[in-house]
């Protein structure tokens, strides 16, 4: 058995890449950019998906959510075209359902979310992106909503009062200290009694950006909807994580009974809470990764191109090496390692560049950080390796197939 020549070929590759420095750099740059864009997309989309998971575990995991409509396990790419689960189905969830849920043993708190359209106006300011949410005073028990000033809605102050998000306060009044000020919506006047602390979490399992929300009581909300509560979501908190599955079962039985035996709702808990959103991110991420993959293919073609040039330039060298005893596989490895060195160098540089860029983007525009994970490392180096292998193999085989006589004769 002969000694493998990997180290020798690596030395050769290094020498020959160094000899043609500028074209090596350009080729590596092609791979670097491809890998970097994949890293950016993967790290940011995983980062986004992780947010909701963290919110759920912040609450001890004992949180469940009831939504109208049914969700099925869809393939990822479908969720791009599908609307977020149930958001276009008429809601069948009512106050009676809420009451029934609250009466179940083990449910610590339950709060409805009734999301109402329409503008909010104070003076001449009518900010965009506002969600008006009608709920009960129980909401802070279920969802983490720290107050910056004032108080949350309670049984006494529930009429014509509102708690608003920090950004909405600024958009409406130009300041966050707005307790006691009033705004209009749906022809009625509301007094601000509390301001939420800035959360900067536009992505959460409520699908509500609380920074831009005006929270009013369920009674007031019903008034805008001809006195019918149309609840998009009921948030439930159980007294312990362990009991959650039992409680969910009970809620399911109770609601199915209320809805004439039809299970036209979905109860989500744990990781499932994050699922609809995660699926969306995964789908967007997957699509973007494919696009980034195309740039990597272009980089790979660059590698192949340069390798073919290298093989043509070194035809004579190949002839000499074969005459001196190099086998075809020796020659294949010599050239393959050269392309692998280039693509792996591109992979490494791309990994670094990708994270730097992802961090820059996240810090500047996004409320979350990119994620470091071994899967992403693996993906980066796996693809780099594959690109080097796939696009280096053909030139290497071509080099090895050169007839030594022709190679030695033609290039005097």
């Amino acid at each position: 058995m002969r000694r493998p020549l990997v180290l020798y070929h690596l030395g050769c590759a290094y020498e020959s890449l160094r000899a043609n420095r500028s074209r090596t750099i350009l080729t590596v740059l092609g791979i670097t950019i491809g890998i970097a864009s994949i890293i950016i997309i993967l790290s940011l989309s995983t980062g986004a998906a992780r947010i909701i998971k963290e919110q759920v575990s912040d609450l001890g995991g004992a949180v469940a959510v009831v939504r109208p409509g049914t969700t099925t396990d869809k393939p990822h790419i479908d969720s791009l075209t599908a609307t977020l689960a149930g958001s276009q189905t008429a809601s069948h969830l009512t106050e009676y359902d809420l009451e029934d849920i609250e009466s179940i043993d083990g449910v610590t708190a339950a709060a409805p979310l009734m999301i109402i359209g329409g503008d909010v106006t104070a003076g001449k300011n009518t900010p965009e992106k506002v969600s008006i949410i009608a709920t009960t005073p129980k909401l802070p028990d279920v969802t983490h909503l720290p107050l910056g000033e004032g108080q949350f809605l309670d049984e006494v102050t529930s009429d014509q009062t509102a708690v608003i998000g920090a950004q909405l306060a600024i958009d409406l009044f130009g300041t966050e200290r707005v307790a006691g000020r009033t705004f209009h919506t749906h022809g009625q006047v509301f007094t601000v009694i509390g301001i939420l602390k800035r959360q900067n979490k536009p992505i959460n399992y409520n699908n509500i950006d609380f920074d831009h929300a005006a929270i009013i009581s369920l009674e007031s909300g019903k008034r805008f909807n001809q006195n019918i509560a149309s609840i998009q979501q009921i948030n439930i908190r159980a007294n312990s994580h362990e009991q959650l599955p039992d409680i969910i079962k009970k809620i399911e039985d109770e609601l199915t009974q209320n809805h004439f035996g039809e299970k036209d709702f979905t109860i989500l808990a744990g990781d499932d809470l994050a699922r609809p959103t995660n699926e969306l991110f995964a789908a967007v991420g997957a699509t973007l990764t494919v696009v980034a993959g195309i740039s990597l293919v272009v980089g790979g073609i660059g590698v192949m191109n340069i390798m073919l040039v290298g093989v043509a330039e070194r035809t004579r060298e190949i002839g000499i090496r074969k005459a001196l005893g190099a086998s075809n596989s020796n020659i294949v490895w010599q050239f393959l390692l050269e392309s692998l060195v280039m693509s792996l160098a591109g992979g490494m540089l791309g990994y670094g560049l990708g994270y730097l860029t992802a961090f820059a983007i996240a810090r500047t525009f996004l409320p979350f950080n990119p994620v470091f994970s071994w899967e992403i490392v693996g993906a980066a180096f796996g693809t780099a390796l594959t690109v080097g292998l796939v696009f280096g193999l053909y030139p290497a085989i071509r080099a090895a197939r050169k007839d030594p006589i022709v190679a030695l004769r033609n290039y005097h």
Binding site: L5, Y8, I320, R321, A323, L324, G325, S327, L408
Partner: protein, 265 residues
């Protein structure tokens, strides 16, 4: 290892080689029968296109014959796979080319060590061997020169050192002095002659009739056939120096080296 000197190192039987197809077909080698013994220094002469180089390429396993049989060290090599042929090239054959064919990116010592690389010798060992081989050609002070820094004569000496470094059974030289002036040619021929004296088998293709004086046997080719095959006075005199002598010399130097090492301890 016992070397059987009576067995010819190369036997060719009815070797034929054709190039081209149809009307353009051309027979380059037309039934070559040849026996070459160990320790011979053969000069192959003949006009251009008579098939000398093709014969050399076939002997060096760079090319296939279309018909006939080629036995190298008593083994038929016609049916061997490409990788087996590469292995034989690396272990038994040394090439010397007209245009030196040093690899321009590698320095002198790396060029000389190249055949050992493909033989699987470790880096330190192959550099040591190469260095030793270069010193026999008085090129020790050129080890780290690049090929373009050498004169033609030096380049060819490096190439000969490279051909010899893996201790091959036969050395194939294709017009080794074709690109050199007469003085360098003389030096190179002296080197080859010296190698021959040390027991190596050399097959050399040349145009220059003056060089045949170094050979022990001269073969003239014409139109793909052997036209004449004569032993030179030198060939009659030296009477095939056996390779055993070289091996014995090596053994001696090795044992003296180990003795020296023991003394050092």
């Amino acid at each position: 290892m016992k070397i059987v000197t009576t067995q010819p190192v190369i036997v060719l039987k009815g070797l034929k080689k054709r190039y081209g197809i149809g009307d353009a077909e051309q027979t380059v080698l037309d039934g070559i029968n040849l026996k070459i013994h160990r320790g011979e220094f053969i000069a192959i002469m003949g006009p251009s296109g008579c098939g000398k180089t093709t014969l050399l390429n076939i002997l060096g396993l760079l090319d296939h014959a279309d018909e006939g049989e080629y036995l190298l060290d008593g083994r038929s090599v016609d049916t061997l796979s490409n990788s087996r042929r590469a292995r034989i090239r690396s272990e038994q054959i040394g090439f010397v080319f007209q245009s030196f064919n040093l690899i321009p990116r590698l320095n002198v010592i790396d060029n000389v060590a190249l055949p050992l690389t493909y033989k699987g010798v470790s880096k330190t060992k192959r550099l040591m061997e190469a260095s030793k081989m270069l010193s026999t050609f008085h090129l020790s002070n050129r080890e780290y020169y690049m090929p373009w820094q050498l004169s033609g004569g030096q380049s060819q000496r490096v190439a000969i050192a490279r051909a010899l470094v893996n201790n091959p059974s036969i050395i194939l030289a294709d017009e080794p002095t074709g690109n050199l002036d007469s003085r360098s040619s003389h030096v190179i021929m002296e080197e080859l002659s010296d190698i021959h004296q040390r027991g190596n088998t050399i097959i050399m293709v040349t145009h220059n009739p003056n060089l045949t004086s170094y050979a022990s046997r001269v073969i003239t080719m014409l139109d793909g056939k052997i036209a004449s095959d004569t032993l030179t006075p030198r060939g009659k005199k030296t009477n095939i120096p056996s390779k055993r002598r070289l091996d014995e010399r090596r053994k001696r130097s090795k044992s003296s080296k180990t003795k020296r090492q023991k003394e050092d301890k």
